[in-house]
Amino acid sequence: MPTLAKPEDEPVGSLLPSPQQREKLRRIRGFHDAFSKYGIATAGFGVIFALMLIFVYLFSEVIPLLKPVSMEVVGELAVPAGETPSPTVHLTLDRFEQIGGRYSANGAITFFDANDGHILSRQHVKLPDEAVVTAFGRSESRKSLFVYGFSDGSVMPLRVDYTQTFPDGVRVVTPELAFPLGEEPIRIGGGIEGDYSALAIVDGRGGYIIAGGTDQGEIAMALFRTRRNMFTREQQITRTDYHLPAIDHPVRQLFVNESLRNLFAIDDQGTLYNFDIVDGTNARLIEQIALVPEGVTTTAVDFLVGSRSLIVGGSDGSLAQWFLVRDEDSGESHMTRIRGFRPHQSAVRYIEPEYTRKGFLSGDENGTVALHYATSSVTLKTLQVADNPIRRIAISPINRLALVKREGAETIERLAIDNPHPQASFSALWGKVWYEGRAQPEFIWQSSSADDAFESKFSLVPLSVGTLKAALFAMLLAAPLAIMGAIYTAYFMSPGMRRIVKPSIELMEALPTVILGFLAGIWLAPFIENNLPILFVGLILLPLGVLLSSLGWYQLPERVRHLVPAGWEAALLIPVVIMLGWITISASPWIEVLWFDGSMRQWLTDVGITYDQRNALIVGLAMGFAVIPTIFSIAEDAVFNVPRHLTQGSLALGATPWQTVTGVVLLTASPGMFSAIMIGFGRAVGETMIVLMASGNSPIVNFSIFEGMRTLAANIAVELPETAVGSTHFRILFVSALVLLIFTFVLNTAAEIVRQRLRKRYASL
């Protein structure tokens, strides 16, 4: 080959790149290689990190619930002194935590800067001539309503309004006195003798009530109804006076609840007198109850926000919550002790409820202040402020700052409180709680209401029970159908049919659950309601019919039987099942007429079974449908991959195919089926749309198949868009999301590990 030989003096004709070019190319390739390596690694890590972030983020939103409460003294102010020194009867704080208010026994109200204590303004309540203040009463803090009682027997109700103005874009809050019932002192009850020893005012449904009691045990009250004239915008006040039956002891404290149905009087022995004042002229003493044991007296009592619960502090330092519990038999409500809180070391001197939730502060004789939360019955924090007794405490409406006035002290302590989520304790989320107005401790989920005084009920038990209930009923349908189907498809079915059946059932998995939920809610639920017997008939008729047709098939001559090869039984059964289904449906009205007086639904109600149209049965059917393919697919793989030599060995030894299934296949593949059921269960637990659409979404705690439920997932879907970011409710919804995540993750991981082990075992067999 002479043409290939190149003359030695012509190196330029070489097709190889020059060494420099090769070096360059090599560097570029090396760079590409490294770039691709690190680029891919970065992306890979990024993706894994993003997925891990889900865990981290959900945890981070939940952690604030677990943060311990803090309460500490952050400074003190000089007591804004009056011109004439006079003891403090009350202390307030506005909602921007800027303005404190000190109400003195001489009728002066001093507003001061809550940060440094300098006096902002001072107002005086107009006293009648030659009268002195003898008593003071207040309504719930959020109403900002007070009443002074004078020595001439008259009272002066007033309200403090904080008006906001924005001169030059800066917010300025000015406290102002308002007189909702007129600017002149008024007398209540007519001929009451002696000075008031207790006063109460309430702005309730239907008007104001002012009640007064004396050391002689007399109680009088006045009901003011205000009505605004539609045309003149003039306010008209009508008043009615009532005298209540006297009690034998001096009245120490009076309380009227917001519904204006009850008046509670407390005497010097710590006994509570519960009056029914619905009909004021015939006020009736319902009961007389000792709030504290013999030898102890009550030293401080106050309503929690909403005026449903009384917190009772005793001279022994005990603290307890009481409210009215309705007795089902008599229909009457009785004051009942609900729960106690961690007691103080000495007598409780003052109780200050929080504004928008059921917490309160208590101060005692030794100068200790404690922070409690009623619903979750916890004492969150105890703090020794000083040695002398606590006289008054004021907490701000946003519950972040409190002012404490001690007996005889020249200063007011500022307490900074960080207590954002007192509602969420372990016992409140998972235990039975006795909520206000309920007859006994219960599990309730009721997260929000329009009213500030609403007691939020955050029990996760109804939701968890609902979740399990929905998943269980779904599994009741899905597990047997899917596992049986999987065994048949993998082991008995002819390959030709399997090629059609397997993808068809797997296609079910791809069906959007919103469609299943829609069909279940709109089509299935009313259908089942009108044809209830089909369930029970179907449950009996279907297996029976299948067995009978099998028997019938074996009675046919062999010639006919051989027309259909083995492994096509399922195809033969399709018309049979359709027929049976049709029979079941058309028999339904006959059965209703024959045995259930024409309507099974009505019959159920008559025997005392509640029936909701959208119930666990419907959810079970629809969700069962949704998880069948999941279970089927995994279980089928497990059965199909049982090594052939095992089954063939069994058959060769003379076992029938069915004996082989029960003796060999099931034993070998059972871990796979177990993991299939676990994964199916995990899917049913987290399914949202079906439950949302096919259950009634009522958070009830029972396992009745004819009643609905609310699941964790559906609850998140319903409530999360509505709730305020960062609120307790928001975080509790995150808790439920985290519970779902961890539960399904653990379930799936366990299932995956079981499957991997099984795969290894198959490989070694």
Partner: protein, 551 residues
């Protein structure tokens, strides 16, 4: 019999029965959706019946039969129907009566026993209206500017069709101006406001700029006034004609032609006319906009929203899923830790979708979105731009949700490629990255496609997380339009799945909307079944291919 029992045949048949039941359930469900969904568009005949309840005067009923059912007599007696004691069963028919504004009840049950002969007069007309649902009745005469037209009986219907075409064209013009032209002006006005606010925030609001902005605004407002005038004119024209209809019972009702979307006389239509009508109705449904709180009209925004969201999701999920899979399979050190990571990633596919929604709302919308707003869109605050649920966050959440699907599928594809191919490439001197990008990845493309399609199918059917991160009942604008930057990632979207939930369960006229929901479900099912079948096809072809190459 004994032999039969011992052979285990009953058990085998029972297991076979389970398969049959599952199969019947799948196909029965698909059939139900197909039949109900497709029948939505068919112009059903409208019957005229005299209905005589015992003890009350006969009434005339014009309506379309929706369904019939047989119930026990007892049930009906309890419901208050005057059924004789001895009668065991009662058949009742649900009729769609329309005329919601006239009678207040557009769906009513009638008991078969009290119904007279079913007649199908040819002149019964169904009017689909823009408000108040359908109207059923017989046309009496036409009015032009409130003066009756002198028309022969057989001229009435053709003349009505002609005039309806005219008014429909006018209404279309009005819609176009309102939706597109005025929409654009509003968008630009908002831009002017934001420009001004941005300049203010950055202390760059010079008098010249302010003058410029004012001029821009005045121009737009002038244009708007012009359009307003044009619109008033069009409105006046469209109100010219009115048709007088006689409803069941003989009362006459006036209906302005601009209130009518469509009119047909089902009893007079031939099969071919019906087929034509059917096709047109189907297209109107696909490409139309919803009306009456989504219970009427089309579902175009929902289809469009679903598709755009899924596309944005695919753009995010494909590169990341594929790269992660390549990393896990080709680069990462195989060991216990990697095994744990792999199981965790796979298991995320089984985590409830609502959990992803919660994560999306908390992390993407409130945390990331809030930060983006503060950094990039301070001029729009306090109205959030990205700090509120929207298209981008919905896509991102779904991308996270479907990542495991893509990773699993791609890894499977990579594992399936015979190592001989890889070794061959390396032996020829190719670097690892060259082997990967030029040999392995192209071979694994079908697997990636499968993964992507499965991801899309899952994403298109997912609703629960979307309710939290960006899907709404009614989005005023589409996420893509003619205004810069054309694709609006921050906008809220409509979605087929959510549409089903919303119309089926939250709408005031659930009964009237039922068929529409079936039709929507049908579209969604067709979309998803098609996607899945494609994925299965690709997977099968892939298996065949490697079986050939691996040998």
């Amino acid at each position: 019999m004994n032999k039969w029992w011992k052979s285990g045949a009953p058990w085998i048949w029972l297991h076979g029965g389970a398969v049959s039941i599952s199969i019947i359930m799948v196909f029965g469900l698909l059939l139900l959706i197909l039949v109900r969904g497709f029948s939505h568009f068919w112009p059903h005949p409208v019957a005229q019946i005299t209905y005589t309840l015992p003890g009350s005067a006969p009434i005339e009923v014009i309506g379309e039969l929706r369904r019939s059912e047989t119930l026990t007599g007892q049930l009906m007696r309890e419901a208050g129907a005057p059924i004789p004691e001895e009668q065991l069963f009662v058949t009742r028919h649900l009729f769609k009566l329309g005329n919601r504004d006239v009678t207040g009840r557009d769906f009513t049950y009638f008991i078969d026993d009290f119904m007279g002969e079913w007649r199908y007069p040819r002149d019964i007309t169904v009017l689909e209206r823009r408000e108040w649902g359908d109207f059923l009745g017989q046309p009496v005469r036409l009015l032009e500017n409130n003066r009756p037209l002198n028309l022969a009986a057989d001229e009435l219907w053709p003349e009505f069709r002609r005039r309806l075409e005219r008014s429909t064209a006018l209404v279309d013009d009005i819609r176009h101006i309102e939706r597109n032209v005025i929409g654009r002006i509003n968008h630009q006005l908002e831009r002017v406001r934001l420009d001004r606010r941005r300049a203010e925030l950055r202390d760059r609001l010079t008098p010249e700029l302010e003058q410029q902005l004012i001029e821009r605004r005045e121009q737009l407002e002038a244009h708007y006034a012009e359009l307003r005038h044009e619109l008033d004119d069009l409105y006046a024209q469209s109100r010219r004609d009115t048709i007088v209809m006689r409803v069941a019972g003989g009362d006459e009702v006036d209906i302005r032609l601009d209130q009518i979307v469509k009119a047909w006389q089902p009893n007079a239509m031939s099969v071919f006319a019906k087929l034509g009508f059917y096709g047109k109705d189907f297209l109107d449904f696909i490409f139309g906009y919803p009306r009456e709180a989504n219970t009427e009209g089309g579902i175009f925004p929902a289809i469009f929203g679903t598709v755009v969201m899924v596309l944005v999701m695919s753009i995010i999920v494909t590169p990341f899923g594929v790269l992660a899979a390549i990393y896990l399979r080709e680069y990462a050190k195989q060991g216990t830790l990697l095994k744990a990571i792999r199981i965790s990633v796979y298991n995320l596919a089984g985590v409830p979708s609502i959990v992803f929604g919660v994560f999306g709302l908390g992390f993407f919308v409130y945390f990331l979105g809030g930060s983006i707003d503060r950094a990039l869109f301070p001029e729009a605050l306090p109205a959030p731009t990205f700090g509120t649920p929207g298209l981008f966050w919905a896509s991102l959440t779904l991308a996270l949700l479907t990542l495991p699907v893509v990773i699993v599928s791609t890894e499977e594809g990579l594992a399936r490629i015979p190592s001989t191919i890889r070794q061959g490439s390396l032996a020829l001197g190719a670097t690892k990255s060259e082997t990967l990008w030029k040999v392995v990845v192209p071979l694994a493309t079908p697997a990636m496609m499968t993964g992507l399609i499965l991801a899309i199918a899952r994403a298109a059917g997912e609703v629960a997380p979307l309710m939290l991160v960006g899907v709404v009942k009614l989005a005023p604008t589409l996420p893509i339009d003619g205004n810069f930057p054309f694709l609006h990632l921050e906008r809220k979207i409509m979605h087929l799945g959510f549409h089903i939930y919303d119309v089926g369960f939250q709408s005031p006229h659930a009964e009237a909307a039922e068929q529409l929901v079936y039709a929507t479900a049908l579209i969604l099912v067709l979309l998803i079944v098609a996607l899945n079948l494609t994925a299965i096809q690709i997977r099968n072809r892939l298996r065949e291919k490697y079986r050939a190459e691996g040998d």
